[in-house]
Amino acid sequence: MELVNWFTTPLQYGFMVKAIWISALVGIVCSALSCFMILKGWALMGDAVSHAVLPGVVLAYVANIPFAIGAFVFGVGSVIAIGFIKSNTRIKEDTVIGLVFTGLFAFGVVLVSKVKSTVDLGHILFGNVLGIADSDIVQTVIISVITLVTLALLRKDLILFCFDATHARSIGLNTTFFYYVLLSLLSLTAVAGLQTVGIILVVAMMITPGAIAYLLSDRFDHMMLIAMASGMFSSVMGTYISYYIDGSTGGCIVVLQTLLFLAAMIFAPKHGMLVRSRQQVSDS
């Protein structure tokens, strides 16, 4: 009974019910995308884009348009800027990525400190799912639906794009299109993710679930399911834990995800460290 109460008590509050639903949804959506992110090798790119969207989000707030639009412009724009600088200078890619996203993020931080608002824009940085507004809920649901439908419809080609872009081109697929599809979804899900964990940590939602699933599965479809399950679990449980300890929801979610990753890293039945060290012993 104690255990059931632990789960049901917070649900007497409307804000908790909303928070649980939204974090579950965001957890699922970011995790679905994370499988593609880690297989394509876009973890650094995910970090960059999720930070670069900050000024876009603040400016959208000022202009009273949906955050998603501002995020999209700055998300895609930052990658175009990265490409441009890389092609026209001798600076290496990782440096260019770091330069561009920190510059844009800093600009966003300045905007946050200067824009007078009724809403604490600091919530954009750290998340505020416990105080989420209904308009934000609508936006998050729309983004989630767009992302999940796109991934469902284009799944096979996106997998091919991540695995063998050369083959994709050779059979006539437009790899540039898929590049921008993934990039756009990345920008949009950053907006969804900022509700629960904030801009600073949203990259974790786009990497860790995929990484956990990668250690636990050798089939892409299973990987997606495992990622989404771990994303949903850590989001919901993280929200509950933050309620009870009165601590940062975003922080709790990401810490929980990281702990799940550590468990997978050590105990995974095929790719975990325990299994590997046993194999090495028996090989020698």
Binding site: L39, L153, K156, D157, I159, L160, C162, F163, D164, T166, H167, R169, S170, I171, G172, L173, Y214, S217, D218, R219, F220, H222, M223
Partner: protein
């Protein structure tokens, strides 16, 4: 039937102002296994890219089966078998998944396989003796099995121009024999097969034609006529180590 399957006419390709291929010309008819020989950086991969339609020549043109290059991809005319180093073997796909990717060009955009696609995949896998292994994740395979999987993908594509990049590097003898036999069957069925390789012995063994490349196409044609010591010197700039062996094989043949 006068159409060449591969017709490269005076093609020049440049990347950022650097010329990779200069006025290259090559005509191959259907039904040939042709070796592509040259040093690294001499333009072999550029040539492949031109045939696949990945690079636009600065001048000249490329026709595949008489069709301009922009129609090549949509019509599944050319299949490419990559080098092992280029593949992410940890990717969570099975042998069957990889071969099915060869069919995407024929499938609807949701990529739902029809029985025709499933049959093509099955036939290809059986031809390379990999049907039993179809559910294995690709990282679990041996070197030869990995090669055969990607070969099956090219077969499933049902393209009759095949480009192979170092197909025999790191494969076991059984796989090598199987692939050579399969290539000869395909040649007899009218396929045009271009093999980029550093293995000069294999050229004399089963390539009926050879193309020598060094920033331009130095020579091409019947192996017995083109594969000479003088031509190889021009191809490798004098750095071929064991010309004497190749030469003695030519004298025997």
């Amino acid at each position: 039937m006068n159409t060449f399957s591969i017709d490269i006419e005076n093609v020049t390709v440049a990347y950022h102002g650097q010329v990779a291929l200069h006025k290259a010309s090559l005509q191959l008819k259907a039904g040939t296994i042709c070796g592509l020989v040259g040093m690294n950086g001499a333009g072999k991969s550029t040539l492949f890219k031109a045939v696949m339609g990945f690079v636009k020549p600065v001048s000249g043109r490329v026709l595949i089966n008489g069709l301009p290059i922009r129609l090549v991809q949509r019509n599944n005319l050319v299949a490419y078998v990559p080098q092992a180093e280029e593949v992410d073997w940890n990717f969570p796909v099975s042998v069957h998944d990889v071969v099915m990717m060869g069919r995407y060009g024929y499938m609807n955009f949701l990529r739902i396989p029809r029985s025709l696609d499933k049959q093509a995949v099955r036939d290809s896998l059986e031809r390379v003796e990999m049907w039993e292994m179809r559910d294995r994740q690709i990282g679990e395979l041996s070197g030869g099995q990995k090669k055969r999987t990607f070969f099956a993908r090219a077969l499933a594509q049902q393209a009759n121009v095949l480009l192979l990049d170092e197909p025999f590097a790191g494969v076991d003898v059984k796989t090598e024999k199987m692939m050579i036999n399969l290539l000869m069957e395909l040649r007899d069925a009218g396929y045009t097969i271009l093999i980029s390789t550093h293995d000069l012995d294999s050229i004399t063994t089963f390539c009926d034609q050879v193309v020598l490349i060094n920033r331009t196409i130095l020579a091409y044609g019947e192996t017995s006529e083109v594969f000479t010591e003088e031509n190889l010197s021009r191809t490798f700039g004098g750095s071929v180590i064991d010309l004497s062996r190749s030469k003695s094989q030519l004298q025997q043949g």
